[in-house]
Assembly symmetry: C2
């Protein structure tokens, strides 16, 4: 039997959803135009007045918003309500430059938690469940989002936070956790750890809600088998609220977007043109209920396909595929956003030429990343000790920039292949995005 | 001007407070007797029936509860409501043996957050404030408690969690944090870091709420001066709910106990006899509003003095001194509970004799701990390398047991002084508890 948290919304007619979106979009655009200098300026530049937006059909007239806009507006530039009305800040982990900071009124948090509650209900969550949350807490949205959703359901919430696998497994056994929330790679690691300890019969998990990074169908099957659960995908962005922007239902064929709060579009990343259902393009979100930090046509850079096909779960909200890639060059490695430009900056700062290659792989369901860097003729050395020392220095500098361990291999001059066109900087061997 | 969160409660007449306590205690005792096998058994053994408890005057008839009782009842033995009514678990950091796990209904969390909101209001918190919480989140009660209290006030909450001092200071400057919540030693460290960077004029802090470990008046003055704030103490126990069981007001002369939720007693730790106001003894709490996990006469092992003297802040609830010591041998080092018996266990397991001394100190406002261990005649070595290797092995084993770094010094046989009576195992040079 399918569980819902707000069936009257989750299974509303398309007409009803459309009516909500029309009404809320018109109000949101009026509100941001009147309250946020940034939006007023952008709309004025394009010659668009709030009155021009009369329904969701007019959404395509509005300008896009990018992550750079958010960084430039840091910290208070996009705030649509006075600070005294805001009760929470969350933030991306942004390891370099300015972070993205998102603001929430109490009502914004309330609606965000509703979205997470829908995801937990879709995974079978009821007041009888023990929801084990090992996403990080604090500024990261994973922990607080799922924690809040679990409270809405009335499940018993275990705010485990991340790390300490021994304790995770001990509590899982002792307290009878039934729904696990974490990244898919940590789920895979926990599954292995449970088997290594021979505890697979002592856990009572029935479902998992895994997001914040890309994962394959193979990985899903592996986790499902090892933990004896059904594994559900979840998607979200701190900028847009956090996890729960969309979530998987029992059909496990894409994630329903909470369309009463967010309007989704898929665009051609080059032209900005809106693409029809079934076509692959960049996902764009407009929030239509957020008070403190409403975003209009926010370009996620995630490549997706939307589908309005009837779903066996009974939900009527549009489905999105897992992200099938990125429209920028960002990599997500071990859950951390990595831009090749960040790596290049470190190399140049340390006096290396820009001849390098980034190789991303996956070992035991965990990401690996290596940078091969050419030494110049001048710095060339065949003394292993000298090379090892230089490599260590680069490892430390990359750790400081990215927050994760990157393997570094210094290679001999002229050994990295030159291409005639754009250099192939990144080799991603993970096949996360195969479709 | 003094700020209150619930003035009608915080400044209620003594008669009103007494009336609440009488009524709620009677109901609580009846409830636990009927719902918790553990309490029924303990009361039956003492020949006490729920009807014998007719007011708070009868509290002294009830048996005590200890931390060992809680450990024995792990995980579900003291639960007074079905699991399906519970929405949260929090836990002590308990590094050895069974942890203490506390359960909450939504109403329990609501009242706990009220207590924290009173503490934030007492520190001047309003909807205009930015409350910077760098207590840990997750199972630890510090983060979620103050976070929830800040939401109740309607302040803007920054859920920073612990660690990453660079980021703490960056957000503090960028977002204009006004109230800092963390351990006093982390506050001292942050203060130093702010000065080292010359950022003291870029922070807008006005107050701090510092708890979870003992701190001196000198430390308070140091933090207040360096950060330009007023520093408030806060007290709590996970078992009893978390931070906010009591909190300091503008008078800064002890912490008001939230007497509408908790009845406090001070007893002679040897005889169990209740002591009058002004006398030093062990603090005992009875929760009178908790639904999921009510504790009756819980012995905190903290040595305190209670005072009903009129307070200049206008609050009428009884005040407790900072803990002035412990009635057991537990040390709190770097916020972690350390029992000398844990250290002894490690030494014996590694083949050392029980001739050792634990020296606890404080350097730059941060705790230090060293164990001096006698080598036996057989294991004696004057080879520095061999000794260093053995010391490192002990450091690792102690880290695994306690979770913190303990300096180890192996000393020559017969160099630790023998006393004729009870061995002096612990030398605490911190003077945290001077009165």
């Amino acid at each position: 039997m399918e569980h819902y948290y707000q069936p009257e919304i989750e299974c509303a007619s398309r007409e009803q959803i459309r009516a909500w979106q029309d009404e809320r979009l018109v109000k949101t655009v009026k509100r941001v135009y009147e309250n946020v200098e940034f939006y007023k300026k952008k709309m004025d530049e394009k010659g668009i007045r709030p009155e021009d937006i009369r329904s969701a059909d007019d959404l395509c007239k509005l300008p896009f918003l990018t992550k750079d806009d958010l960084r430039d507006a840091y910290p208070y530039g996009l705030l649509a309500r006075p600070l005294s009305d805001c009760v929470r800040i969350q933030s991306t982990s942004g390891t370099t430059g300015r972070r993205v900071v998102a603001f929430y009124t109490q009502n914004d948090i309330d609606l965000w938690e509703d979205c997470c509650a829908r995801a937990i209900a879709a995974a079978g969550g009821t007041t009888e469940d023990v929801v084990h949350v090992c996403y990080g807490y604090g500024l990261f949205t994973g922990g607080p989002g799922l924690n809040g959703g679990s409270h809405k359901i009335g499940s018993l919430t275990l705010p485990m936070s991340s790390g300490n696998t021994e304790r995770q497994i001990q509590f899982m056994c002792d307290l009878g956790s039934t729904i696990l929330c974490c990244t898919p790679s940590y789920a895979a690691y926990l599954a292995e750890s449970v088997w290594e300890r021979g505890l697979q019969n002592q856990i009572k998990l029935k479902a998992g809600i895994f997001g914040a990074e890309a994962w394959t169908e193979e990985m899903r099957r592996d986790i499902e088998e090892k933990l004896g659960i059904k594994a559900y995908d979840i998607y979200g962005l701190t900028e847009i609220s956090g996890p729960g922007v969309s979530f998987e239902c029992s059909a496990q064929t894409g994630m329903h977007i909470n369309e009463d709060h967010f309007i989704a579009e898929v665009i051609d990343p080059k032209t900005g043109e809106v693409l029809p259902d079934g076509e692959k393009g960049e996902l764009v979100f407009t929030s239509i209920t957020k008070e403190a930090f409403p975003l209009i046509r926010y370009r996620t850079r995630d490549i997706c396909i939307l589908s309005h096909e009837k779903c066996s779960c009974g939900r009527t909200h549009v489905k999105m595929t897992k992200p099938l890639g990125r429209s920028d060059d960002m990599l997500i490695v071990k859950g951390v956003n990595v831009f090749p430009s960040q790596i290049e900056t470190v190399l140049l700062n340390q006096g290396y030429p820009a001849n390098y290659q980034i190789i991303v792989g996956r070992k035991n369901n965990s990401d690996t990343i290596e940078v091969q860097v050419e030494m110049t003729q001048e710095m060339f050395s065949d003394n292993a000790g000298v090379v090892a020392e230089r490599e260590k220095k680069l490892v430390d500098a990359l750790k400081a920039m990215l927050g994760i361990y990157v393997k570094v291999s210094l290679v001999n001059p002229k050994t990295i292949a030159r291409s005639e066109g754009k250099a192939v900087r990144v080799i991603d061997q993970r096949n996360l995005y195969q479709n």
